[in-house]
Subunit: 197 residues, 2 copies
């Protein structure tokens, strides 16, 4: 073997800078999240796996929370498309179904959990991710109103919150399953109401 003369090459410290380091670390985070879960994704672990020093991570992202949020925001940016089938019920069904699937994902659950853990003291107000998605989904309702499928005075935000809220509650609080039956029941209840007709 043609080894180096010096018995200990002293492992040249890999200083991956700038964008290269950023991508390496973020990729490692996403991978660790799906294999080790949120609890297993510690800053020290990420640093080791990405071949970067822990300090460098803290200097760039400030907190573990920022780190993971950054990785997930990049990863889940394209998720939750807004369907446009021409029928409100169908649009809501599809949107809720993909929302349920996202929430069932390890990454989705992690994003959810981290969005909740905000300090109540300082108004940090982050986690715009979910608020944004719900905001975007309002067009589904608006299109339904324009088509005459829904009452003219329908509040789009209210409808979206009413159908999506239970999914979040189940994922965060009760742990109850998120199946298609629930989604369909929710949509129909919100569209038709509970009054006898």
């Amino acid at each position: 073997m043609h080894g180096p003369q010096s018995p200990e090459p002293a492992v040249p410290p890999l200083r991956r800078r700038g964008e290269r380091m950023r991508r390496a670390v973020l990729g490692t985070v996403v991978e660790l999240l799906s294999t080790q879960g949120l609890a297993g994704t510690t800053v020290a672990t990420v640093a080791r796996a990405a071949g970067v020093h822990e300090t460098s991570i803290y200097r760039r992202w400030r907190t573990r929370e920022n780190l993971i949020l950054d990785a997930l925001a990049t990863e889940l940016d394209a998720a939750l498309p807004i369907p446009d089938t021409g029928v409100v019920r169908e649009d809501l069904l599809r949107f809720l179904t993909s929302l349920g699937r996202l929430i069932a994902t390890a990454q989705g659950r992690a994003l959810l959990r981290l969005s909740v853990e905000r300090d109540e003291t300082l108004e940090d107000r982050r986690g715009p991710y979910w608020s944004d998605r719900l905001e975007r989904a309002k067009v589904i309702v608006r299109r339904g109103v324009e088509r005459g499928e829904l009452a003219a005075d329908t509040d789009p935000g209210l409808v979206i919150e009413a159908v999506a809220g239970p999914l979040f509650v189940r994922a965060l609080l009760s742990g109850a399953p998120l199946d298609d039956t629930l989604v369909a029941g929710l949509v129909d209840l919100t569209l038709e109401g509970a009054r006898p007709r």
Copy 2:
């Protein structure tokens, strides 16, 4: 001043045992929660304020989470009564209003936050508090069905989740306000539906 002969009385370590210690610690937790918030309620702080050693707290409650959950469960046990006015809309309105008020409380928010922070790895499945409350609220819907106010095939759980879900989502995710307008809009939407009539 008639001080004791010994210059340092060496502060006899107060060993409050059993129920006395339990009440002292839990009372301190509730107090600290409303004055210092969740982040300020650390085990060391509680121990000092209650005149108890940190180790004793860990031995009895295992985790900080258990400690606070125990204190809040005891404190909020009687909260969220189920109204029975004879009219579904009124019952739902009152229930949701008190739920919103509870959620706006420092203690309510703390209970919510802690109910979310469950490990996804081990199926610890706690936080039955909120699930229990929603479960109990189902009778409101059942009574409405019996009275003929609601369709016979109405799913009580679905209705309760649809009206309560958005409140939790706002408290946990979006931080949007919980006013009476929202509550009324939610109840009416769920009862009447969004379809034009």
